[in-house]
């Protein structure tokens, strides 16, 4: 076959261009650690990588949601635990206020109950940032307002929150709440912390009643009415503490699951878009060798051409 001079040089240039392009692609893969950078590199792979990226981003956000909820749940849990202590103290006072107690002791107990009401109201106005934890979704202002008389005795504790709670997503399509309304006497919906007619709970009113009965020295009313009421309140608060604990456990499990899912996703992402470094470096080395060989062959050809010209007289 007859070979023209331009045939060889054109072929040589094409081969060098091809090898250069291969070198560039392989070097790019080695430096980035990626087999896919642009959509045209691997269109189906790119789509899969984008979908995995979206899933991973969502999982990271769910983890953030869970972290925020865990903080709020911890704040609420601490308040509920302290509230439980107050409830226990109130029950002890009610138990000890029998016919053997002196008027002075009863008065002192009344004063202590007044302080317990104030402490409980303060706990029920706990905030997480700017949000009041026990106001339902009307969380922009303090849900419990204490009213006192001229002597400092508590006459009323009114609730200005509502009975709704906000749900947050902790995984796709799965929502939960860490909130509980301060009061719910509607007969439906989430259980109120302080007051819920379904369970006989009305902690503040029961404490006010105990305060008043202690001041009046009405030990029979304390034994027959106040003490049983406070037992219902205590049971309700214990439920809230347990419920909060269960929610925190669930959030921990959700966080762990999200973390496991993310590890799997990252493995999938590496499989789709990552590069086998050993294999790629080997290919790069082979390409470099081929490029060197092509250059040397070209050089020899050009020398041969010069030799041909030297044959001219």
């Amino acid at each position: 076959m007859r070979i023209a001079g331009t045939s060889y040089t054109d072929s040589m240039v094409n081969q060098l261009d091809f090898l250069s392009a291969q070198q560039y692609q392989l070097q790019n893969q080695v430096s980035t650690g990626q087999s896919i950078t642009a959509p045209s590199d691997n269109p189906a792979g790119m789509a899969e990588a984008l979908n995995l990226q979206a899933d991973n981003s969502a999982l990271t956000q769910y983890a953030q949601n869970i972290s925020t909820l865990q903080t709020r749940a911890t704040i609420a849990g601490n308040a509920l635990t302290s509230l439980q202590t107050i409830s226990e103290q109130a029950s002890e006072i009610a138990t000890s206020a029998d016919s053997t107690a002196t008027p002075a002791e009863l008065q002192a107990d009344a004063g202590e109950v007044t302080q317990l009401i104030q402490q409980a109201a303060q706990l029920m106005n706990t905030q997480d940032g700017s949000q009041y934890v026990f106001g339902g979704t009307a969380s922009g202002s303090a849900p419990f307002i204490v009213t006192t008389d001229a002597n400092g005795n508590v006459t009323a504790v009114t609730y200005s929150g509502n009975t709704d709670v906000a749900e947050s997503e902790i995984s796709q399509g799965v929502t939960t709440t860490v909130d509980a309304p301060g009061e719910n006497n509607t007969g439906t919906g989430p259980r109120g912390v302080i007051s819920d007619s379904r369970y006989g709970a009305d902690f503040f009113n029961h404490l006010i009643s105990l305060q008043n009965d202690l001041q009046a020295g009405n030990t029979s009313a304390i034994a027959s009415t106040d003490a049983p009421n406070l037992t219902n309140d205590d049971n309700n608060i214990i439920y809230q503490v347990a419920s909060n604990g269960a929610t925190q456990t669930r959030l921990s499990a959700a966080a762990s699951f999200a973390s496991t899912q993310q590890s799997g996703l990252q493995t999938s992402l590496s499989n789709v878009a990552g590069v086998d470094l050993t294999q790629t470096l080997t290919q790069l080395s082979q390409t470099n060798n081929a490029y060197q060989a092509a250059l040397e062959t070209s050089s020899q050809f050009l020398q041969m051409q010069q030799y041909v010209l030297s044959l001219l007289p």
Binding site: A49, Q61, Q64, Q131, E169, L312, P313
Partner: protein
């Protein structure tokens, strides 16, 4: 018998013939690197013999013609392949440009990051911005009264809107560039058609006068190949060695006459197409870079732009449909989150930019802790959207990217295939018509030796003549 003087003429003719051989070889060597050149050879033939008493006696050699070594079938194949190459190269160029403008390049590090806020704000790609928007809705749903989360939402939405605007603007600019490219291609094609007609005229004159026009034919062949890269042509060789050229069934060059040219026209949508200039006949081009540019512009690029507009439009409609029913921290309702109608003009409600408390996250008035609207908006990211073929926003976008990538990947493969076929055809033509240094060097030596040999005839006859003259003088 020829006689001494006729023998002298024989020597002289031989010298001329070998000199022409050297000249043609020199021409070949001078054009060794000219890809448009077809090598030439000297056709030597014995000159007319003369009758003598002892029979017909040869009178030497003469150069009968200078022949161009070319294969018209191969040339036609190369022209045809040039149209294919022009078509796919222009597609590849346009779509590579579009890929750059879309700016959707995958980064494994940011894709697999576990940044604490769930956003990948270091990346500006549209896919990342979409993810960040729905993550930001999640953050507001989890902390509805948190002004920092609300401001982050507004920022994320602005970044997304900006990405849409930028992609739309860039692709629109590319569309305009491709329109310009069509016009430029048409102008170049018209210039080539004019050149071909002119060369046809010169070749016809040379042919009529009995001369050869090899170099003019090489120039015309180059013009035909360059024209084929722009647009698929059909050629007919005429008896006077002129070539008629048709495009899309319309004859534009007939002999030396340029009967018509190409022109662009707007069919009403701003996307230029091609027609004949004089008869205004729309042309259905079947190959070449002009049609490749048109197909890229009206095909893949238009689909991509329409899909971006559909996605932006769906996002605006879906988000506003939920959002407008929400309440902000001040109890206000009814406003929209996004303004605009498509990718080019989507924007965030300007009232939210400086006052994130106006984000309507609650589903109930006077309940600032209510997050039901924000939660719905966050969950919108996982919902199938009818206008997006029942895909989620991110899923639909991933499909759009895949389809675009498929088009560019196909163009890359076609260019690679064309390159292989074209190289094979060019090598085949070069093996026939190309200049071989070894061959020409050998020819040069051959002609030179023959010239030297022929010069010996002259010097020998000269000596013989001198001998004769000396005989007279003595």
């Amino acid at each position: 018998m020829l006689g001494l003087f006729n023998t002298l003429n024989l020597g002289a003719r031989a010298l001329q013939a070998e000199q022409i051989g050297v000249e043609v070889t020199g021409q070949n060597l001078a054009n060794a690197n000219n890809p448009a050149y077809s090598r030439q050879t000297v056709v030597l033939q014995t000159s007319t013999p003369t009758p003598t008493s002892i029979g017909m006696e040869g009178t030497g050699v003469e150069a009968a013609s200078i022949r161009q070594v070319t294969d018209q079938l191969l040339n036609s194949q190369i022209q045809s392949e040039a149209s294919v190459g022009g078509y796919w190269n222009s597609q590849q160029s346009a779509l590579q440009n579009a890929q750059t403008q879309l700016d959707e390049f995958f980064n494994l590090d940011s894709a697999s990051s576990t940044s604490s806020d769930g956003s990948t704000t270091t990346s500006q790609s549209l896919s990342d911005q979409l993810n960040s928007l729905f993550n930001a809705f999640q953050s507001v749903a989890t902390s509805p009264t948190d002004l920092t989360a609300r401001q982050s939402l507004v920022n994320a939405a602005q970044s997304l809107a900006s990405s849409f605007n930028q992609a739309s603007q860039n692709l629109s600019a590319l569309n305009n560039q491709l329109n310009t490219s069509v016009s430029t291609g048409v102008a170049s094609a018209n210039q080539l058609l004019s050149d071909i007609a002119s060369l046809n005229g010169q070749i016809a004159k040379a042919t009529a006068s009995g001369a050869t026009a090899n170099d003019l034919m090489d120039s015309r062949e180059q013009d035909l190949e360059n024209l084929s890269q722009l647009v698929n042509i059909q050629t007919t060789t005429n008896s006077d060695n002129t070539i008629s050229v048709s495009i899309g069934g319309q004859q534009l060059v007939s002999g030396s006459n340029l009967s018509d040219t190409l022109a662009t026209y707007d069919p009403g949508n701003g996307q230029l197409l091609v027609q004949t200039a004089t008869s205004a006949t729309p042309l259905a081009l079947t190959g070449g870079s002009i049609q490749g540019t048109i197909d890229a512009r009206d095909g893949t690029l238009t689909t991509l732009r329409n899909n971006l507009d559909t996605m932006a439009s769906s996002l605006i409609t879906q988000v506003n449909g939920i959002y407008s029913n929400g309440y902000d921290l001040n109890g206000n309702t009814g406003a929209n989150f996004f303004t605009g109608t498509n990718a080019g003009d989507i924007a965030v409600n300007s009232n939210l930019v400086n006052d994130p408390s106006q984000v309507q996250a609650a589903g109930t008035a006077n309940a600032t802790g209510d997050n039901s609207v924000a939660l719905q908006l966050a969950q919108l990211g996982n919902q199938s959207i009818a206008a997006l073929n029942n895909e989620t926003f991110s899923g639909a976008y991933a499909l759009d990217v895949q389809n675009f990538g498929d088009a560019l990947s196909n163009a890359n493969d076609q260019v690679s295939n064309y390159s292989s076929v074209n190289t094979m055809l060019l090598n085949q033509r070069d093996s026939e018509s190309g200049v071989s240094l070894e061959e020409e060097t050998s020819n040069l030596i051959t002609y030179q030796m023959a010239y030297e040999s022929s010069s010996k005839i002259i010097t020998t006859v000269d000596q013989m003549l001198q001998t004769l003259i000396d005989m007279k003088s003595t």
